[in-house]
């Protein structure tokens, strides 16, 4: 059993204009194993999987499944060969029901050609039960949570009799409990001899659920290791190609005078009498479980959501913030957790995305001054070391970490004094995370005030000068953390309530 190879990708090469995305990549996967694929953003994981699934064509190389060479030219071909991929952006139609999504394109019909809804719904319910999930198959997918949608995708994969399921960072948007459920399902699939390729950045889960791990870097396979015989440091150093040294860079305390004060903010059902203040040169961390009201709090301060009562003071003066426009005028910037939807115009260039918040600065007599825009874009790209082929590159072509840097650049250029970062390191790799930490340190050194929301408690503890913990729309505790002495247990206890 041990050496039963189900999938082999041999000497895969793929170039895009100007970049070699994959250079002679070979990968072999054993039947029934959970195989982690990790690497920094831009290492080539997604490209490799897209070739496997027939979305891209490899320039050269072969794919063998069950000992036979296969020619996979389209997703449909891939499905016929027992392959299924669950992308981060789900392949589901929100307006259709669970059952219909599972059997999309191959709805069963009766002899007379009429769709057999009863049997389709029965089959869907069985598949869902099979993975321990009871969602009514008639529910429209649009009304499901992210984790439920994932379950539907897994059921869909199983309905194709998939032997190999690829999951692209499936846990990135899940809560802890939902993750546990996902791990349980993966365990069950494994018992059924279904092979899983698991793309992930998270070391904890790689060690928790995978059997082997392959590390990619710059389009090359660096190594394949048995998970039980390796350690976190070995994987990370292989990923980044260097010793990272200290995970969280140190900095001095620059705290100065009060720049923002929030008094008794209320929003029905979401925020309950929240008060806090923020100082110049300080990082204020906000911790809490998903749904504790962290994002809602900063959205309210930013004017994206309405507040029912409460006051906001900027530099000691009371301000009324009714919309993001008011907030920006008062020097407050919000970097949303969803950078692709709300942070960037993905189809625009790096340059255009940086200049957008402060166009008045580069407009003279109503005309855009190209040279000034170029200079400014270059300056910020250098300062934040954004890896891009040029400032005229479209943001959609950048890796997640670099996209995040462009968002930061955009708000820095807007001259905001108060920067609110909502999950600034979500979905970006270890190396880029560290760079973001350095940028945050730079910001406070410049005298900006930073509010940082993060679900990763170690990150909050390492970066924040003070920490607020939220639970059910309230601030349950404030910790002073100048000497970084707060422990994860202390924070967790307050977060649970």
């Amino acid at each position: 059993m041990g050496n039963d190879i189900i999938l082999e990708m041999k000497n895969i090469c793929k170039s895009f204009p100007g970049v070699v995305a994959l250079n002679n990549v070979s990968l072999s996967i054993k039947r029934g194993e959970v195989h982690a694929l990790c690497g920094e953003n831009g290492a080539g994981k997604s490209t490799l999987m897209k070739i496997l699934y027939g979305i891209y064509r490899a320039d050269s190389g072969e794919i063998w499944i069950n000992g036979e060479k296969r020619n996979i030219t389209s997703p449909v071909k891939a499905q016929e060969n027992g392959l299924s991929i669950i992308f981060q952006e789900f392949n589901l139609v929100d307006t259709l029901s669970v059952a219909e999504n599972i059997f999309l394109g191959r709805l069963k019909t009766t002899k007379s050609g009429k769709i057999d809804w009863k049997s389709i719904e029965k089959d869907a319910a069985e598949l869902m039960l099979h993975i321990g999930c009871d969602i009514d198959p008639k529910t429209p997918v649009g009304s499901l949570s992210v984790s439920q949608k994932q379950m539907v995708e897994i059921a869909k994969a199983l309905s194709y009799n998939a032997e190999i399921i690829v999951m692209d960072e499936p846990s990135a948007t899940l809560t802890d409990r939902e993750m546990e459920n996902l791990y349980r399902i993966i365990q069950e699939l494994k018992e059924k001899k279904i092979t899983i390729i698991y793309i992930s950045h998270k070391m904890d889960e790689i060690f928790k659920i995978t059997d082997r791990v392959t590390v990619l870097r710059d389009g090359v396979v660096i190594c394949t290791l048995d998970t039980c015989k390796t350690c976190r440091e070995e994987i990370v150093s292989n990923m980044v190609g260097r010793c990272l040294g200290q995970e969280y860079p140190k900095r001095e305390n620059y705290s100065g005078e009060k720049v923002l004060e929030v008094k008794n903010i209320n929003r029905k059902g979401v925020l309950n009498d929240v008060s806090f203040c923020l100082h110049r040169g300080e990082v204020l961390g906000i911790a809490g479980l998903v749904g504790a009201g962290r994002t809602e709090l900063v959205r309210a301060i930013f004017g994206a959501d309405r507040i029912s009562s409460g006051k906001v003071f900027v530099n000691g003066k009371e301000v009324r913030i009714k919309s993001p426009i008011d907030a920006i005028r008062n020097g407050i910037a919000l970097l949303t957790e969803d950078r692709k939807q709300q942070g960037l115009i993905l189809n625009n260039t790096v340059k255009e995305n940086i200049s957008i918040t402060n166009l008045k600065d580069i407009v003279k007599f109503g005309l855009l001054m190209n040279s000034k825009e170029n200079n400014i874009a270059k300056e910020y790209v250098d300062r934040l070391s954004v890896k891009t082929s040029s400032i005229n590159q479209k943001c959609i072509n950048l890796s997640g970490g670099n996209q995040q840097k462009v968002v930061l650049a955009k708000w820095l250029y807007s001259n905001a004094d108060i920067l609110i970062l909502d999950e600034p390191t979500r979905g970006i790799d270890v190396g880029a995370k560290q760079e973001i930490y350095h940028i945050i340190n730079e910001l406070v050194k410049m005298g900006k005030a930073v509010i940082m929301i993060s679900s990763e408690i170690p990150e909050v503890l390492a970066l924040s000068d003070r920490i607020l913990v939220m639970h059910k729309g309230r601030i349950t505790r404030e910790f002073k953390n100048e000497s970084r002495n707060v422990t994860p247990e202390q924070v967790m206890n307050c977060a649970i309530g």
Binding site: V76, Q79, I115
Partner: protein, 316 residues
């Protein structure tokens, strides 16, 4: 018993367009005794049939994530062809040509949009103008009076007192409902409109479905062109002008979203019903036609505005 009442209450609260049309129905029955007369109801039925049949075609298009601005022009040209050609080639062949016109223009629109990938707004707007020009040219700019007794009689035909046009509409309504709910073909249209990328990844022939949408609106429009010519004993090159946008608005008011992937024939029926009921009521109340347009326009905007306000309020 009580539960039933609560259920109905909730339904009426949720389906505001439906409840308002019921209220309107009651109000107009009281306000104008003529409303419930057989003549008026027949008249209303014919109106609903005309807009409803086009609406069925448009329902397919909108569910599939598109809409067809050329529908009105295709109504006009079909009527002009049917009436204009009848003395020369006979009624049967003239009707076939009229229907073919819908098929051909629908095909051209569909292929330009699905195969050449040109934006559907531009394509159907372009063919709206072109086809209307053709209709005006063929008819020499004037309405043509129908010479065919058979055609004219058909327009006034009734079966058990019900106008035959309305019966045709009901039959098509049932057929379309069946197709959209119970056939793979119909369900695939929802998938294409709901999320094009997913539909592609599932292996659906997306281009085929997109093309079909416009062929369907073409065919339904051509049919309405013939029916209107029969009813009015005339083929007019400007017959369909006002119909297209009213139909699109009706489908949306019924609750089918312009973003695609959602909707059904019942909703289209509801939308068409309330729009026609409004026109009919205005006529009966003796409101001036020009003012009618103003009021109708405002109502369309308010209904959709109210709907999206409600959605936003829930989100905020």
């Amino acid at each position: 018993m009580n539960k039933q009442a609560v259920k109905i209450g909730n339904f009426l609260l949720k389906e505001k367009v439906f409840s308002s049309s019921v209220l309107l129905l009651i109000a107009i029955s009281i306000a104008s005794p003529y409303f419930l007369s057989v003549d008026n109801l027949r008249n209303l039925a014919v109106q609903i049939a005309v807009y409803g049949i086009v609406g069925l075609g448009m329902t397919f298009a909108i569910i599939g994530g598109e809409f067809d601005l050329a529908a009105g022009s295709m109504i006009s040209i079909s009527g002009v062809l049917a009436v204009g050609l009848e003395p020369k080639i006979g009624l049967g062949p003239a009707l076939v040509v009229a229907m073919l016109s819908g098929l051909v223009f629908g095909c051209i629109n569909g292929l330009l949009i699905s195969k050449a990938g040109i934006n559907s707004f531009i394509v159907t707007f372009g063919s709206m103008v072109t086809v209307k020009g053709l209709a005006l040219t063929i008819a020499n700019g004037r309405p043509i009076t129908s010479q065919s007794e058979a055609l004219n009689n058909f327009g006034d035909l009734r079966v058990i007192g019900i106008p035959v046009m309305f019966l045709i509409f009901v039959i098509l309504l049932v057929v379309c409902h069946y197709i959209l709910t119970y056939t793979r073909f119909g369900r695939n249209i929802y998938a294409v409109g709901g999320n094009l990328d997913v539909a592609k990844a599932t292996g659906l022939n997306v281009a085929f479905y997109k093309a079909i949408l416009f062929i369907l609106t073409g065919l339904f429009s051509a049919l309405v062109g013939i029916l209107l010519a029969a009813r009015l004993n005339t083929g007019s090159p400007i017959q369909g002008d006002d119909i297209t946008l009213t139909v699109i608005a009706s489908v949306v008011i019924g609750g089918t979203s312009l973003s695609g992937g959602k909707g059904n024939t019942a909703r289209t029926l509801l939308g068409v019903f309330i729009m026609m009921l409004l026109s009919n009521s205005f006529d009966l109340l003796g409101i001036q036609p020009y003012i009618q347009k103003v009021i109708k326009g405002l109502i369309i905007i308010s209904v959709v505005a109210f709907d999206s306000y409600n959605k936003k309020r829930i989100e905020r």
